[in-house]
């Protein structure tokens, strides 16, 4: 089974990801936290990343958080991409309803 390297350029973390495994799952298995973990089902958009280099396959993702034009540019959800080569990724800002706002309201 092929094993690929994933490097997060934002945080400097790197980890291996097995063929058929999602980038997010590979990260969680190494107990890293360099990408936020949400629903793990392509639904909530919490684990959005930018793939800078490399090839991958996609599972189903919410069109709201990963519209086709964004996916085209490598803006995808880490829980739903499966590397075909080594990848270089970076973090992207969280979606509109950011935790900061909510926290302020509830403090």
């Amino acid at each position: 089974m092929a094993v690929f390297q994933v490097v997060n350029r934002t945080t400097g973390d790197h980890f291996t990801c097995q063929e058929g495994q999602s980038v997010l799952k590979a990260m969680e298995q190494r107990d890293l936290k360099c990408v936020p973990v949400g629903c793990r089902g392509g639904g909530c958009g919490f684990c959005k990343i930018q793939v800078l280099e490399g090839h991958f396959e996609c599972g189903k993702m919410s069109k709201r958080h990963a519209p086709p034009e964004a996916v085209e540019k490598g803006e995808v959800l880490a829980c739903r991409i499966y590397p075909l080569t080594d990848l270089i990724i970076e973090c992207v800002p969280l979606p509109e309803a950011a935790p900061a706002k909510q926290t302020t309201k509830n403090r």
Binding site: P36, V37, G38, C39, R40, G41, G42, G43, C44, F46, K60, M61, S62, K63, R64, L94, E96, A97, A98, P99, K101, Q102, T103, K105, N106, R107
Partner: protein, 307 residues
């Protein structure tokens, strides 16, 4: 139930992949598939529910909740509630009978938090699944997974909680069972009930409209919640948090996600409510304990991960 609204009757949830979703809600949660329609929607129920379905799955390119429906006691109550909504200035949409199979006409409206609700009076009565109405056994054999007892409630995130409160309490006859107040006394969470359950629907303040936090299914016992947790691991299902207890409602709970990222809860126990009960209040200073009674801190996911 003073205005005739009886209980949560159904929820329609959007899923990215129908086959995966059906497998999740049947094999893992233990619901029973009861029908499909020509839109491709799948209908499910939990075993103690007397009507034909309580969960409708619709394949879509974005997960989330389409609407939650409440069953009312009869057509007269439905007519009155419809009139009361309109008089109150809430726009209603008529959904004809059979738009959902074996369900009567539905009155749909959207509250200021951005969530769609429905009222209906009729749905095909199929009785409890797997037990007779004469000399019924204690429980049906052949249930799968968590053996969910019933669809219980939903929690929604959105703005305008005060306006939502007014509609549910003043127009629909719900009661405020529990609330979270911020230091200024603003209600940032409201747990509403229409009967003895501690919540039939709940809202937490959130800037963005129309977000879905979770659909919740009732289990019998804490033992069943532990077994649910075991099954979540056995099936490598995405876990959120639990098993633990809530401060709010004091229910015993575990959260996890369906394959499209919609959050599910299974829970047991918790407080009960009568119309003369004063609301229980949690302060935001204790929000961690209010949500997760044992850890007493929030996990970030609970407040931010939504569909």
């Amino acid at each position: 139930m003073k205005k005739g609204v009886m209980r949560p009757g159904h929820v329609q949830i959007r899923v990215l992949d129908m086959d995966e979703a059906v497998k999740h809600y049947t094999d893992l949660l233990g619901m029973i598939e009861t029908d499909r329609d020509d839109q491709g929607r799948v209908y499910l129920k939990a075993w103690t529910e007397v009507d034909k379905f309580s969960l409708v799955l619709r394949e879509a390119d974005e997960p989330g909740c389409d609407f939650m429906g409440f069953k009312v006691v009869d057509e007269a109550a439905l007519n009155q509630l419809e009139k009361d909504l309109v008089d109150y200035g809430v726009g209603v949409e008529q959904i004809p009978a059979e738009e959902l199979k074996d369900c009567g006409r539905r009155v749909r409206f959207t509250v200021p938090s951005g969530h769609a609700f429905e009222l209906y009076a009729d749905k095909k009565y199929t009785g409890k699944w797997g037990v007779s109405s004469v000399n019924p056994e204690a429980w049906p054999r052949g249930l799968q997974g968590m053996k969910a007892v019933r669809f219980d409630h939903c929690l929604f995130y959105g703005p305008e909680l005060a306006a939502v409160y007014d509609i549910f309490v003043n127009v629909l006859g719900f009661h405020l069972a529990e609330q979270v107040l911020d230091p200024e006394g603003t209600r940032v969470a409201q747990f509403l009930t229409v009967s003895m359950k501690e919540h039939d629907v709940a809202f937490i303040h959130h800037e963005e409209k129309g977000k879905f936090h979770h659909a919740s299914f009732y289990l019998d016992t804490w033992e069943a919640v532990l077994r649910a947790a075991d099954l979540i691991s056995m099936t490598d299902t995405s876990i959120d948090i639990g098993p633990t207890r809530h401060g709010l409602t004091h229910g015993q709970t575990i959260y996890f996600f369906d394959p499209s990222g919609n959050r599910n809860e299974v829970f047991c126990g918790g407080d009960y409510f009568y119309p003369d009960h004063k609301p229980v209040t949690w302060k935001t200073e204790e929000l961690g304990k209010a949500i997760f009674y044992h850890d007493r801190v929030l996990n970030e996911r609970f407040m931010t991960v939504l569909t």
